[in-house]
């Protein structure tokens, strides 16, 4: 898929995120929007997957460790054809498929249940180790938050991934600078992130998490690196694409009302049109 087509996908994913959060009346727009370009690049370019066969044994895997960003994953899965787009409007509704946080038992295409922060990298390690054991060439991707990495388990897993030379694993850190209680630098500074991961013997690529061309290049480099796991430290803007949500800590975990959504969608549609 061409760069501009990927940009269109990312734009559609952003629109879907806003649209599904309105009837849900709750959920996390900020960290979903910040990850939209990353997730679009993964699902529409990078990953070897088949929506007709969600449990295909040779597929690439994706673990959404920052599970509260479920809307971005759901939007990508729906755009990709894992389930009808109508389902998005059932987000968080009683009896519907799309739970507030990803549930692999209910939703085709979700490779791992998540929502309790800190657990995803360990799970990704397990998948990557199993892939090596089975001599399969699938790759494992895992998306982490920059507030999430305060969890000790992340660093236990970081050590293990390097120790076991998991070069079939690529982590992406959504470096949007915000968590719930405020800017990450004032709540619990995780900087310098690149140096930390380098010290843990990872291949580190610092990248603009909204530059799809750069993301593509980074994922390609990660595939070439042997003997080490790779992490993309992806600099992003929380709420990216919706002017009044950008860099606003208050939009971490509250849904837009109909009026706010209309404003957001207007901006996103304009951006979509500008892509031609």
């Amino acid at each position: 898929m061409s760069i501009v087509d990927l940009k269109r996908k990312a734009n559609l994913i952003r629109q879907d995120i806003i649209t599904m959060l309105v009837p849900a009346k709750a959920g996390h727009p900020g960290g979903s929007l910040s990850a939209a370009d990353i997730v679009a690049t993964l699902y529409f370019k990078e990953m070897r997957i088949n929506p007709q066969e969600p449990n295909w044994a040779d597929r690439d895997r994706f673990v959404l460790s920052k599970g509260h960003a479920a809307p971005v994953l759901y939007a990508a899965l729906a755009e990709k054809g894992y389930f009808p787009k109508d389902e998005l409007l059932g987000l968080r509704q009683t009896g519907r498929m799309l739970q507030g946080h990803p549930d692999m038992k209910r939703t085709p295409g979700v490779d791992m249940s998540s929502g309790s922060l800190g657990q995803g990298l360990s799970v990704a390690n397990g998948m990557a180790l199993a892939g090596k054991l089975d001599k399969k060439d699938y790759r494992v991707y895992v998306l982490l938050g920059d507030g999430e990495v305060a969890e000790g388990q992340v660093w236990e897993a970081a050590m293990a991934a390097a120790h076991y030379k998991l070069d079939n694993l690529t982590a992406i850190l959504d470096y949007n600078g915000l968590q719930i209680d405020g800017p990450t630098d004032s709540v619990m500074s995780s900087a310098p992130l690149a140096d930390k991961w380098r010290a843990f013997c990872w291949n580190v690529i610092e990248v603009d998490g909204h530059d799809i061309e750069a993301l593509e290049k980074a994922f390609a480099e990660a595939k070439q690196v042997k003997g080490k796991p790779t992490i993309l430290i992806a600099k992003t803007v929380k709420g990216k694409g919706v002017s009044f949500m950008e860099n606003q800590v208050g939009w971490h975990g509250s849904a837009p009302n109909a009026e706010q959504a209309e404003q957001a969608l207007k901006e996103l549609r304009e951006e979509g049109l500008s892509l031609g």
Partner: protein, 313 residues
């Protein structure tokens, strides 16, 4: 009926305590808005510590504060705090017997629409198995204020369960409150309803309904789940001969289990536990989720009818 969120009372009382006692320190794990400890932070920034999203670390740090003579209140969502932090609570708090106030937020169905990853229905069970930790779940906001105050005065580890959403006021300012002492809210002859937290209001509602059916129910507010007030419970059950427990928690290992363990050894009578029946929840708003999981006045009423029927057989 007036409804107030227990967490509101918690956050406000913590500020008052902070004013009175300079040894009180408050720790949070990136949920200061939800836990309402941001009120304390605004007043006493130098005694407030956000440790970010690290629920195991916050427990250990709290233990260290306690060893150094402070009175730490450590806050996070109950499932993450007691789940991630359990081994730290086990050793650094319980085994070391340190004066840490463990405060679990968003309990039960509070965050219904976030779904099962965010719904603590197992926390009482996780704490009950640890020697020496007191477990407290107040019935309403008035009792919450008294409980926070009592927790600060109590020497030793304590687990306080705090709900997010408004619940009806079922106690009064004048009511006495003592940790470890159950309160009889309504006297009755035919059955004892033992409830905790948000289920107390539903127990009282069930008792009303039962009265109209000619059944006289005693309702006990068991705000302290450990240690159990065995004396009050046994006296009531010896009178009524039938028991229904009600909690916003799994029926495995929680308050109902504690009561059942006591009664089966001391005074076996028909007993039913209202609570979550060994299943995961689903994504649904608070009230709807209570209906789905059977955490209702109706479930209590039906359970009462069952234990009374058993007694007649």
């Amino acid at each position: 009926m007036t409804k107030i969120a227990p967490r509101q009372a918690y956050g406000e009382e913590l500020v008052r305590l902070g004013q009175e006692n300079p040894d009180i320190v408050v720790l949070d794990a990136d949920v200061a808005k939800a836990s309402m400890t941001y009120l304390f932070k605004e007043k006493f920034p130098e005694r407030f510590f956000d440790l970010g999203i690290s629920e195991s670390d916050i427990v250990g740090t709290g233990a260290g504060f306690a060893v150094a003579g402070k009175i730490p209140f450590i806050n996070a969502y109950a499932n993450f705090l007691l789940g991630n932090g359990w081994e730290q609570i086990h050793i650094s708090v319980a085994y070391a017997n340190q004066n840490v106030k463990i405060v679990g937020h968003n309990i039960g169905a509070s965050s219904g629409k976030d779904g099962p990853t965010h719904l603590p229905f197992e926390d009482i069970a996780l704490m009950r198995v640890l020697p020496g930790i007191m477990i407290v779940e107040p019935a309403d906001a008035i009792e919450m204020r008294k409980a926070v105050r009592a927790a600060a005065q109590h020497q030793g580890p304590i687990y306080l369960r705090v709900g997010r959403l408004p619940v009806p006021l079922v106690t009064c300012e004048e009511d006495p409150f003592e940790l470890g002492k159950a309160r009889i809210l309504r006297e009755g002859q035919d059955v004892t309803i033992i409830a905790t937290g948000a289920m107390v209001a539903k127990g009282l509602e069930a008792a009303e309904e039962l009265a109209s059916l000619g059944i006289s129910a005693e309702v006990i507010n068991l705000h302290t789940i450990k240690p159990l007030d065995e004396e009050t419970l046994l006296r009531s059950v010896q009178k009524t001969g039938a028991v229904v427990t009600a909690e916003e928690h799994t029926i495995l290992g929680g308050m109902g289990s504690a009561v059942a363990e006591l009664l089966v050894e001391e005074f076996p009578v028909p007993l039913q536990r209202v609570g979550v029946k060994d299943r995961f929840a689903v994504c649904a708003p608070y009230d709807e989720l209570h209906n789905i999981l059977g955490l209702t006045a109706k479930a209590i009423t039906q359970s009462v009818q069952r234990v009374i029927r058993k007694n007649r057989q």
